[in-house]
Amino acid sequence: MSRSEKKPLIVGGRADNTRIDFELVADLIEPGTKILDVGSDDGALLELLRDSRQVEGRGIELSQKGVNKGVARGLSVIQGDADEDLIYYPDDSFDYVILSQTIQATRNPKLVLEHLLRIGRKAIVSFPNFGHWRVRTDLLLHGTMPVNDYLPYTWYDTPNIHFCTVRDFVNLCREVDADIEKAHGLQGNGERISFSAPWWFWNLFAEQAIFLLSRKH
């Protein structure tokens, strides 16, 4: 479930040094807060947040290589699994829990999301939108599961076992009593979709979505 395996699926690979989704996540975070990054990959996001937002960061990462890289960056990263290890974190132990490009690879996305909202005051979740028009046209015109630049895996070797669309995710948020405080959509050209745009528009044109959630009081 390491993010490195899924890296091609993120709108990365653009000219800037920082990945656009990292910047979007960073924008959502108050400086000086305590953060848990679930699926922290090589620690790049945590390092960015530590250096630009002075956060106290922790990471969970499945791959040993990713953990080692994170530790070498001076981060506190443990080898672990979102599906199994979140249970060991006490309630309200972090200001933000980040699940970046990982929820679609968890076995039980709903439970994971509930843990995020329990452990953190706020949760930040980003994922590739399976409702994007290119995905829909692949299915409609070719009748095959989509394989392209941002969804590079074939159906039989993908680690992404629980794809969802923006609308699906919004429904799940309702089910787990999460408030959507903010949301960003990213189009294929890297442009943001305005928060005021209707969900159907997001669901068609966002390649990726990033949500800032909190528990309903």
Binding site: V67, A72, G74, L75, S76, V77, Q79, P90
Partner: protein, 411 residues
């Protein structure tokens, strides 16, 4: 001196090594400090130990701020010679791959201290030491020693060296238990802690294996109820069996299989005897025999017992997380995939407790087929992790760049 004279030993070569070991137990060639009656050590088993000695070695130099000291702990049968040759065997220090100039525990940068544990037999007070009350070896008259006792004694050594805060405490196996005890009992004195292939308590299986070993020692007629020194003998056979049984638990099934398989020792046909026919047998015999040359049998009883009694959670209402609540210490926990002596699950228990306590913790499981012993071997991923963690701890502690600059000034 009360060194054993060993009339019962098979070969002359071993004799000198065993004699050297007996001498080192009483008068170590390393540094040592003796705490007199003004500084008695309170023991968990009750009463006080006084006087007592800790034998230790240091590597690198202490900076002016006294902020670069790392305390390294040896495992069950180790000694203070972590990065320098053992005076008994002449072999390089047991962690000389890890500690030294430019190595992960860099002696150009850190001041590394390693002491022989209380209850050990390499110069610190243990059952082979002289009991001042009788003028003879303590034997079993020494009260049982716990890991917390070992650590309490070490705090006195660190005080004696004029060090208030340790940059890091690092140990594998029983050494990891000591590091954990330090971090739990003296959090304000420990900036970072590296716990390698260890556990917060001995499992029933751990206790069982060590009990087999202890029973083997005590069943040896030469043990004489622990008073073998008085009889000029040592329970070599019992101690060798103890070591053989324990050694199997330090290796993985895979490494035994790939190293020895069912290979025969001397011939390609079976002799149908009970001699060491298989290579694995002769390997174990060798491990047993070389061990008894350098290790005191009673010390083996004491130190294995200390590990059995160790249960950090029990000291905190059964909740391991409570041992670390509010700690500022940075932790790094390391386990090895093929270690079944202290398996990854034991490390995860520690990590979960540290998470629950809100501690800063890194956890790496290293892929290795070398079993428990992997922590003593040069596993690249393992070394990278230690290196990375220490560098990061270094940055966060703001350790001044004194070592190199100081050297330049001096030269």
């Amino acid at each position: 001196m009360n060194s054993p004279t060993d009339s019962n030993k098979p070969d002359a070569g071993a004799k000198s090594r065993e004699e050297r070991a007996a001498e080192e137990a009483l008068t170590p060639s390393s540094r040592s400090v003796t705490f007199g009656p003004d500084k008695p050590l309170k023991l968990d088993a009750g009463g006080e130990l006084t006087p007592f000695t800790l034998a230790y070695e240091t590597y690198g130099s202490l900076n002016e701020e006294r902020s670069n000291a790392i305390l390294v702990f040896h495992a069950l049968t180790g000694d203070q010679y972590a990065a320098s040759p053992s005076p008994v065997t002449g072999k390089p220090g047991w962690w000389s791959t890890m500690i030294g100039p430019g190595k992960p525990i860099d002696t150009d940068r850190y001041y590394v201290i390693c002491s022989n544990v209380l209850g050990g037999c390499s110069g610190s007070t243990g059952p082979a030491s002289i009991n001042p009350a009788t003028g003879k070896c303590y034997g079993l008259d020494l009260p049982l020693i716990t890991v917390a006792d070992m650590v309490r004694a070490q705090t006195m050594l660190v005080d004696y060296l004029g060090i208030d805060t340790l940059f890091s405490v690092i140990g594998g196996s029983m050494g990891g238990m000591q590091a954990m005890q330090w971090a739990a009992a003296y959090p304000e004195r420990v900036k970072s802690a590296i716990l390698i292939a260890t556990a917060s308590h001995h499992s029933s299986q751990n206790i069982a294996f060590y009990e087999v070993g202890r029973q083997a020692v005590m069943a040896d007629l030469d043990w004489h109820g622990g008073r073998y020194h008085d009889f000029g003998v040592t329970p070599r056979k019992g101690l060798a069996v103890a070591r053989m049984a324990a050694h199997v638990t330090y290796m993985s099934e895979q490494s035994l299989q790939s190293k020895f398989g069912r290979n025969l020792q001397n011939s390609d046909h079976k002799a149908f005897s009970f001699d060491a026919e298989f290579e694995i047998e002769s390997y174990l015999h060798h491990q047993g025999m070389t061990f008894v040359d350098r290790f005191d049998a009673n010390s083996y009883l004491y130190v294995t017992r200390a590990m059995d009694y160790f249960d950090l959670a029990a000291d905190y209402d059964g909740q391991l997380a409570k041992a670390f609540m509010g700690t500022k210490t940075r932790f790094c926990v390391v386990s090895f995939t093929s270690d079944w002596h202290f398996p990854t699950t034991a490390s995860r228990t520690i990590v979960h407790a540290l998470n629950a306590a809100g501690a800063s913790v890194s956890f790496v499981e290293i892929d290795s087929d070398k079993g428990h012993d992997a922590f003593l071997l040069e596993e690249p991923e393992f070394f990278d992790a230690i290196n990375g963690f220490l560098h990061a701890a270094d940055r966060s502690a703001g350790l001044p760049e004194t070592q190199d600059t100081k050297k330049d000034e001096r030269s």
